[in-house]
């Protein structure tokens, strides 16, 4: 790499920043609703376990939220520092959407978080519950605006272009652009799923370390029930989203499925090494007709191949990222229903093997979310606004060396923060909970006696 390509570096840097950032809102958007639920259960039943559940998870929420806020501040600067061309061209659309996110979401969540975390003894129970709910509303509103903007970049609508600058015709069409409902639903459910597996995973750590309590089981069952519901729902939304994408961004789907030539009765490729040189797949393992069936719901349906498009995204990363996302999704459905069968229908508690499996899947939601975002964002290439405005025309004119040095700083910082985030979660999980201490005499441990560690 003698010649540093500033465009590629700027893309990598932005991708690194936004990948790191999205990990934390993914959790806070789901977790704040879980906290509202814990809080409401306690208020309704007076069961202290729910209060302890709230107290344990609100600490993790605070930590996650803080990282989300500070990495989000970074994002608000990066539009200007790395992509001034984007703002000069599409600022009339992107700007107000970001502005509304700050005004309606950021302040709401950041402000009421103060009461939620520190004000419990200063305000009434009801005010505290309202404050917690407002934080949850804020995080979700934030997702609404940013996904609206992202969806607009994918399926632009409601604007005109004059002299190379975007102008709004209809804000309604801009905000509720064609792919927005699918993408918002897909992401919100992804947040819920990521949080469900985090709730189960961290609870499993506690079971496995035998520092659990009855509160831990309640948290575990909450996460499990949510996962059983959300995982199949996500598959359905994903399918609808995919069909919609086929209509609006056919090149993206062709890359996802590594289909080079337009044909009827296309097989679904399970494994392959897509080769951009020969424009074909090597070592392909295929299921006949399956891709046509999935995409057109007809065995002989015709799917347009990559060779039909002048511009299309790189194939291999799309192909693989998509398979990682779907693979984890399928695993989540299987695991949640396998556990649910035992926990809800038979024994009431998970088995040791099941605990080990969900403990390994604690952060699986993160991987699926990142893979999914790579599919949708790499799939947008080479466009910034799909079909209209190229990424290459928006990049700032920093030298490659400058971008590379700041990129290295960011990557080191992110590795450091991620390491400590996971370490701190482990550390917090290992501390005996108040609920365990309270019930130490009456509580013998949840794992079946015959199973030893």
């Amino acid at each position: 790499m003698t010649d540093l390509d500033p465009l590629l570096l700027a893309r990598i840097q932005f991708a690194a920043n936004i990948s790191f950032h999205i990990l934390f809102p993914t959790i806070t958007i789901g977790l704040c609703w879980a906290l509202v639920y814990f809080r409401a259960r306690f208020t309704l039943t007076g069961d202290r376990d729910w209060e302890h559940a709230y107290h344990f998870w609100v600490k993790i929420f605070a930590l996650t939220f803080a990282i989300g806020v500070v990495s989000g501040v970074t994002m608000s600067f990066q539009f200007g520092t790395n992509w001034p061309g984007f703002m000069a061209t599409a600022g009339n659309i992107a700007g107000p959407l970001l502005g509304y996110e700050i005004l309606t979401a950021f302040f709401l969540e950041a402000s009421f978080l103060g009461i939620m975390l520190f004000g419990k003894h200063l305000v009434s129970n009801r005010t505290h519950l309202v404050a917690s709910t407002l934080v949850a509303v804020g995080t979700t509103a934030s997702a609404f605006w940013i996904l609206s903007l992202n969806s607009w970049m994918q399926t632009p609508d409601g604007h005109v272009v004059r002299d190379g600058v975007y102008y709004v015709e209809s804000w309604w069409d801009v905000i509720f652009n064609p792919s927005f409902p699918y993408r918002l639903a897909h992401m919100l459910v992804a947040c819920g799923l990521t949080t469900s597996f985090l709730l189960m995973g961290v609870s499993a750590w506690r079971f496995l370390d035998r520092i659990d309590g009855p509160g831990t089981l309640k948290i575990f069952r909450t996460g499990l029930a949510a996962a059983m519901l959300l995982a199949p729902l996500q598959a359905l939304i994903g399918d609808l989203h995919g069909l919609h994408t086929l209509e609006y961004q056919p090149a993206k789907i062709a890359a996802v499925e590594a289909i080079w030539d337009t044909e009827a009765g296309v097989p679904f490729t399970l494994f392959a090494l897509p080769d951009p040189e020969t424009r074909s797949n090597r070592l392909a393992i295929e299921i006949p007709y399956a891709a046509s069936l999935l995409l057109t719901h007809k065995v002989s349906g015709e799917v347009r191949g990559l060779n039909e498009f002048e511009d299309h995204p790189p194939v291999a990363p799309m192909f693989w990222a998509f398979r990682v996302m779907v693979g984890i999704g399928m695993l989540m459905i299987t695991v949640s229903w396998w556990l649910g069968w035992r926990v809800f229908a038979r024994k009431g508690v998970p088995s040791l093997l099941q605990l080990r499996v969900v403990s390994a899947m604690t952060f699986s939601g993160w991987i699926a979310v990142l893979a999914g975002w790579y599919v949708t964002e790499i799939g947008r290439q080479p466009w910034l606004v799909y079909g209209e405005f190229r990424v290459a025309d928006a990049v700032a004119d920093h030298g490659g060396g400058m971008v590379l040095s700041t990129l290295v700083m960011w990557l080191l910082l992110y590795a450091f923060v991620l390491f400590w985030y996971v370490m701190t979660l482990r550390y917090m999980a290992k501390k005996p909970s108040a609920s365990l201490q309270a019930s130490a005499q009456t509580y013998p441990g949840l794992l079946p006696r015959e199973e030893t560690l």
Binding site: H55, V58, K59, A62, L63, A66, I67, V69, V70, S71, V73, T74, S76, F77, F79, G80, T81, P84, G85, M87, A88, G91, N92, G95, P96, L98, G99, I102, L103, T104, F106, F107, A110, S111, F112, L113, G114, I115, L117, F118, G119, K120, H121, L122, V123, Y167, V168, W171, A396, H398, M402, T406, M409, W410, L413, V417, W420, M423, T424, Y427
Partner: protein, 327 residues
């Protein structure tokens, strides 16, 4: 085109950045003061800013965000030329934010490291903000004179933050901490005055535009209240810190905020009618009217609410020392 709209937004950006300097200023100041306190007091110092710092930081996002919405080209020019200090500041803010939460959760073993990172992050963020402010005043010029001016502001801003942080601690903590904070405030008062003086002298030197704006008769007479009031506030703060005037820490805090306001007014006057001195005017390169109007509606509807619930939350915590309630 509604010509008042861009001016309205300049006002909003100014308000957001002013509130940012005052509000995040005190919590950055607490970070700067942390190394000077014993371990037991460090927890209480950090706890005192716990409920507020997230929202304080959001004012920066609003200021930069509105700049992005209304003046996309100015946003691009400013942030591309301030690429390095902006990046360093962001990294510092990230470090500081995570250290804030890790230090109470990650166990005693690592607490000292997180404290150090919290202070270091606060310091680097303050220095970079000062640098960016200085560079902005010089119209993003990179001559040696302009760079030394930026350096001067970079070194001055921490003094202001320390003063704000110390006053915050005087008002929001109990026990021995307020007395200690008073000594810190007294120490910070002198360099802050020195910095104010230097900046007032240096600013017209580095910028002809500013020199013309301030030293043309009879405009200079109309402007005279700004330096005079600043001087009065500064003197009053000194008297109050040394017990010659009886005043609660809150009042002194508001006096420092008043100095910030006066400085902001002076700066606004100096820059007017440019958005980047000597390079771009406010009315040049604004976003499209329809986008401005849409954002205007949002600001008018939400900003009073934001200010309202911010006041509400500060009132909830009024007169109480915040404990690490959720630890």
């Amino acid at each position: 085109m509604e010509t008042w709209l861009p001016y309205f937004f300049v006002g909003v950006i100014g308000l957001a950045l002013l509130l940012y300097v005052i509000l995040d200023g005190y919590d950055l100041g607490v970070g700067l003061l942390l190394p000077f306190a014993p371990a037991a007091e460090q927890d209480r110092m950090v706890a005192s800013i716990g409920p507020f710092w997230d929202a304080n930081e959001t004012w920066l996002v609003l200021g930069v965000g509105i700049l992005l919405v209304v003046f996309p080209q100015a946003h691009g020019i400013i942030l591309t030329s301030l690429y390095l200090p902006a990046t360093l500041m962001l990294i510092a803010l990230v470090l500081r934010g995570i250290a804030f939460d890790f230090r109470i959760k990650a166990g005693e073993k690592h607490k000292r490291t997180w404290n150090a990172l919290f202070s270091l992050g606060s310091l680097v963020a303050a220095l970079c903000q000062g640098w960016m402010l200085g560079a902005y005043i010089t119209g993003l010029d990179d001559s040696p004179l302009s760079l030394s001016f930026a350096l001067l502001i970079a070194l001055s801003l921490p003094a202001l933050y320390v003063l704000l942080g110390a006053l915050w601690l005087m008002g929001k903590t109990r026990g021995e901490l307020p007395a200690k904070a008073l000594t810190w405030a007294r120490v910070a008062w002198l360099p802050m005055g020195f910095a104010l003086l230097l900046i007032s002298v240096a600013t017209p030197l580095v910028s002809d535009t500013i020199a013309r704006a301030w030293f043309t008769f009879p405009r200079a007479l109309v402007l005279l209240p700004i330096p005079l009031l600043t001087l009065y506030c500064y003197g009053w703060i000194g008297a109050a810190l040394h017990g010659r005037v009886q005043a609660k820490p809150q009042r002194i805090f508001f006096m420092v905020a008043a100095i910030c306001l006066l400085a902001a007014l002076g700066l606004a006057y100096s820059i007017w009618p440019d958005i980047i001195i000597g390079r771009m005017r406010i009315l040049e390169a604004v976003a499209a009217p329809k986008s401005l109007m849409f954002t205007f509606v949002g600001v008018v509807l939400t900003l009073p609410m934001i200010l309202g619930y911010t006041v509400f939350i500060y009132r909830i915590f009024r007169g109480v020392e915040v404990k690490q309630a959720y630890e």
